[in-house]
């Protein structure tokens, strides 16, 4: 599983990666997930819906990430207005 973060002036950055079935990797992923959410990021997992259509699943806790997800994408939380 890879954790990617969108970044201005760069595109996505690989934050960390690991196998969720390996306890050490899983702990590292959990720590990074919390750090990103604490920094105000939103997290989304791109998935394929039942009809084959692509969509995303927004996740607010590590447990909500599907175990077989390949990527979790972090991006700054939405703010209304000033465009």
């Amino acid at each position: 599983m890879q954790f990617l973060r969108m970044k201005p002036g760069h595109g996505e950055v690989l934050l960390t990666e690991g196998d969720v079935d390996v306890p050490q990797d899983e702990q590292r992923l959990i720590d990074e997930f919390r750090a990103q959410l604490d920094a105000g990021m939103w997290a989304a997992v791109p998935v394929r819906a039942a009809a084959g259509r692509r969509e995303a699943r927004m996740v607010r806790a590590f447990d909500e990430i599907p175990r077989d997800a390949e990527r979790v994408i972090f991006f700054p939380r939405a703010a209304g207005g000033a465009l």
Partner: protein, 206 residues
Amino acid sequence: MLLALFATSAVILALLWEISFPRLERWSEQRRSRRERSAIEGYDPGRERRAERRARQLLKSCVGDEEWSMYRDLGFLRVWGRLTGGPEQGGTQATEAGAPYAYLVYPHKPIVSYLPQTRRLLAEYCVAFPDETRPYGSARLPDSDDVLAKWMALTGDERRLIDSANMHLPGRQVDPRQVRRDLWRLSEWERTRLARQRRATGATAP
């Protein structure tokens, strides 16, 4: 005679103005945008281009083929609304089982909601994803990352995104004439794509 000549000149001038005004407006907007970007300390056009290239690859890998082609060809994405139930009967794959409304997602512009059946514009949702860490002096994501963020938030948790946005009537920031042109371009694009698919599968039009 002189009056006729004057009237003709006035009509020609009015027509020329009508044709050139959108171009002038676009040119002025691009110039303003370039100036704003240049004003950011440490702005590097090469780095921004590379960032955009990476962002496009990420977008392509996340959205479906149809959405990616739409964005590549037209410069925006259409996302079907899901907050209310569409009609059970009469829906087609193209209208996502009769989805009652949809959104047009532009890079760094408000999201526009509309009724696909009538092309009536409903609202603008002003929303941004500012990264306040400003790694290179700007809080602005690359264009394709902004589109992907909107797409993920809309398909993943539409209510949350809409609640975070400022809603306005159509026309506040995005020119309704441009949106209508884009809706027309979208319908032409879909027609051409459908025809190409039919040719590829050897099927005939009904």
